[in-house]
Symmetry: C3
Subunit: 461 residues, 3 copies
């Protein structure tokens, strides 16, 4: 129904007589914006304010009364006031008895107060039914109607009826209420709008670090070295050639880092002989951001594909191929087809394509709406089986690509090996450990440990 | 649970004794289809009809009785009758007291009647509990079991218990009920199935207009001009070359049009000195379809990428490159590498790749399931920061691509500049205005206005 | 709110006094894992067990009592015991009266018992309120906190209050409860975690069969034939050339198979003159997996695109082009541009690009979150109109690509036609039948039949 928002924008006079009055305490920006929107959706609105003189900012169709008078006019009271002023409600406790109080407040920091604002409000006015809602919506978005983003309004509260009334208002404003349970959820709801991609921080910082390292590494090998020894200016390599060397390296390393914590956890469990002790903190955190690591790896893999595919259009590549062909023609000879080369080139491309294809499949499966339609068994199958297959294919792609250079001395400039060789260290380690863990002598105890068995039930009395 | 639909298709005799009887008024196509499906799901079904003789069309396991008799057999009555015949229910009001009436009707036009059919029904039979449901499901889909599409059934009603009963039936049929609140939502639910991409109309019409204009523009410059002056037949340019000129132009213009209303709104607010006056209607509508504009732009950008990448495979391009190489060989000379050219070519490709990559990211973030998992702050960050970065990169891509031709007289055929030059007008305008708006002398008052401050609170008393 | 899982992992002592005690019957792996998680989320936990001596495996903060004592301490009792031991609950019936019993059990096979475990439990303890929940969550995932996958917990039960209490616990654990209605849904919920992509089996097996057939077909034509007659080793064709022949063939055939059941159904309905008889079983099943068929076809189409785009990078292709150019130069002639060839090459590429683009659009529309935001009319428009357009474009792409070879005798090696010719049979058949069905003399009766009309209402009395 999301598309109908334009209808809701319009004034709805024919329904206005059916809606129940809503009271708003506070005439600040958000209170006014919500008032506007409520009036547009056909709700009679009463503002409760310290000074009852109407200001130009308050919607014209709304009444402004004292707090006590306004509260008596409505069953639902929206508290559009900051937490530090909540105590003015204490004298009104008698009037607010049985009313639905909607807490819409937000904090400035995550976990700013020991208890959530909504729970604090419920303590101050024990006779009222407190419902937390609307805090994830911005006043600006509400006003301008540009609610492209989250139409979701998290609602929680201890009283089912009160929650239902608030959810009906949310729906009438063209938003989607999401019942989050009892008032205990308020803390989390209040923290929610303050986050900025918390799970993405580590993967993105890690990528930036790796990018910087490999950029200078490649710069030294591919631009500075030829400049020093051959006096050739390859600075234009920065735009595509070097970027296209960094992207696949990062994709491979990050993909391997997705599977590394899993094998580490298996080793720890085998060593400890139990699953009932918590992993070290860094491992826990690492495991929780594996999805994000994988998606960043996929982003680099996609860039690698694009950068590779534009190769034949590059002016430099066209010049190189054409000058090779011209020199062949001038030397009056045609080269025969090198079947080994054709095999190598075709198979590393085929491995890369299949690896990338599976990688994209993994990415699609991690879309929330897709992974919600998949049960645990299916998810494990995709993320574990297909995931390892992807890692195997991508590692093989890199190995076949560079196979011929491993032992060639020209690969080492200033004793630096080619960058892709560095990128192979982690994936190969992960694959080797995983391969070892598949052996029955290790797989069987591991499975038993994960089913709850303990080698040394040493902590029992 | 969507995958289980095949189970639900099968008859479910072992559960039939547990389900409560459902009554259906009306033996039209949808009533029968729903009856079939209910019986398959184990519900005893009673039809209420004017003529009680069983027709072959009615499911065999269903009883057919008079309206009054049928109504007495069940607590839930589905009204599969058109709105204009609802008044036959008035004499039955006594029998229908306390029953749950399910309104499944649809209209032929959006907002056909002043009140929704469900509300009309509730007025006619005041003692009954009216629930709106099933109107978004098609009889054909229900019958054939091909419910690939929207399994969602919007349900609304004033009585919580009645709504719950109907939602249970919806679930039992393998569909997903969506509680839309009180009966006030019925109007919107009834309008829903009549829409055909309402928000997409403007972006698509605009694109078609722009396509037509730029197609003829390029046709004149690239096919007719060389035909007239050089007598060369380049008509095959239509298939790829011209299309690949139109696609990036449209992508760039539409992307700029996504950000233009934002800067216009800022200018209007700065000029008015308040945010409390509504924008002109056209601006409001424009702002509401920005997401669709952006997605259409992304579609053109994707086509541009595909058309560009197939270039080296085109027979014409292969011929051109090969004949250049041959003529070089015949002239017995090898061209040296032009480093400036290599720089330009590589950087416009790199800018394009990065721009397209960010564009795809923006597109993924606008998927409903992704944007629902993102809070307002994160959404703003992605759509505003990353969005402008995309626009900057794409504009720079176009500028670097065509930089060398700006002042070349050969770019002007019949005084017509190259098409891409036209495409740069809007994006550059948007970026310049945005750049100006970032200056503190403009940014500070704008921020204050958006927080609710007014320069001339002239409308107050 | 999904991102907050790390918060929930932490111990939450400040909320522990607010949560109500939860009792868990059974100290098996899942019972303990759930206990751990509940304690972490601030719930006091009591275990009911046959032997009341605390084992090291049981969370330290939990009490262990006899079943009867434990049950008296809590309003909610989670039954973490296998179905075959449920009968030990019969003597406790009096103590369990009015309690909420949460059935979390799973079976080993789909539909293992005639009634679901939860319904069986409700029969055994008639005074208790049974709620089905948590069976889709794995103990390992619960323990390790790696709930990337389905955070969804399906909940069903006959008692609204009891269901609400359980859903609150689900939310408190950082999971998403999904109300599935009354206890009748328990069977389906218990079957859910046992499935492994049931709808994908047929499309994937079919693809594997077709891949095997076309692989050997192309191997004979493209590798063995030249080896026998020209003694050339083209074995490296296997990696890319042959794969890139199989992928488009499978994409086209599978796409046609998506639309074939629709036209077959139309023919059957026209022949029978009614829509009220069920289709043969194979047709029903075929229709239900059309979406999956289409997505597999899209996967092959995407691979085809990637394999085609890497062509210019292949060592073999570079060698072929360069040796052609060299031989042209050595023969001292430049070929003129063949306009017909340019037209053909450009138009088959353009058709392919447009077809693939629409195909991807169809794929995006079939994402759950997108198709949920689309009504029936819009879905029909996309899947039927755009779907057929895709089929037409892809078939035209193949026809134009191979047009010149149809009558060339060199296309037949050992009397085997080129593989793409075989792939055209089904799409052309579908398109011809669909074209015939559009004629009014067939379309009109079909539309009437689908609206419920019958030619021979022969089954009526």
């Amino acid at each position: 129904m999301n598309k109908n928002s334009s209808n809701i924008m319009a004034l709805a006079p024919n329904t206005s007589n059916k809606r129940e009055t809503v009271c708003i305490f506070g005439t600040g920006d958000f209170g006014r914006a919500l008032g506007h929107k409520l009036i547009q959706s056909g709700y009679p609105v009463v503002f409760g304010s310290r000074s009852t003189q109407t200001s130009s900012l308050i919607p014209k169709d709304a009444e402004v009364l004292s707090h006590a008078e306004a509260a008596q006019k409505a069953a639902i009271i929206i508290i559009a006031i900051q937490r530090q002023h909540y105590n003015f409600l204490t004298p009104l406790a008698e009037i607010l008895r049985g009313k639905v109080l909607v807490d819409i407040s937000n904090n400035l920091k995550i976990n700013q107060y020991p208890e959530s604002n909504a729970e604090y409000l419920a303590q101050l006015v024990p006779g009222a039914k407190v419902v937390k809602a609307f805090n994830t919506v911005s006043a600006w978005a509400l006003q301008s109607g540009t609610l492209d983003a989250s139409r979701q309004v998290f609602v929680c509260g201890d009283d089912m009826e009160a929650k239902q009334m608030v959810m009906d208002i949310v729906r009438a404003l063209g938003l989607t209420p999401l019942d989050q349970g009892s008032l205990l959820a308020a803390q989390e709801i209040e923290n929610y709008p303050l986050q900025l991609f918390p799970m993405w921080k580590f993967p993105i910082l890690l990528s930036l670090g790796l990018i910087a390292f490999f950029f200078f590494y490649c710069l030294i090998r591919d631009v500075i070295y030829p400049y020093v020894y051959e006096n050739k200016d390859y600075s234009f390599f920065i735009a595509i050639s070097i970027t296209n060397r960094i992207c696949p390296i990062l994709a491979l390393i990050l993909l391997a880092l997705v599977y590394l914590p899993g094998v580490l956890a298996a080793i720890i469990q085998l060593y400890r002989g139990t699953k009932y002790r918590r992993f070290p903190d860094w491992l826990d955190k690492w495991m929780l951001c594996r999805k994000q690591l994988g998606l960043v790896a996929l982003a680099f893999a996609s860039l690698h594909v694009l950068y590779t595919l534009v190769n034949p259009i590059r002016s430099f590549v066209r010049w190189r191929i054409s000058s090779q062909t011209v020199s062949q023609a001038l030397n009056n000879k045609t080269e025969p087809l090198n079947t080994t080369n054709a095999w190598l080139s075709d198979s590393y491309l085929a491995l890369g394509i299949l690896g990338f294809f599976l990688f994209v499949l993994l990415g699609i499966t991690s879309l929330p709406s897709v992974s919600n339609n998949v049960n645990w068994r299916e998810f494990r199958f995709v993320q574990s089986k297909l995931g390892y297959l992807t890692l195997v294919l991508c590692t093989a792609h890199t190995l076949v690509y560079g196979g011929k250079w491993f032992l060639s001395p020209s690969s080492y400039r200033w004793y630096l090996p080619r960058a892709y060789m560095l990128s192979l260290i982690i994936p190969c380690t992960v694959l080797v450990i995983k391969f070892v863990l598949i052996f029955p002598c290790l797989d069987r105890p591991l499975t038993r440990i994960r089913q709850g068995w303990e080698r040394n039930p040493q902590y029992s009395e």
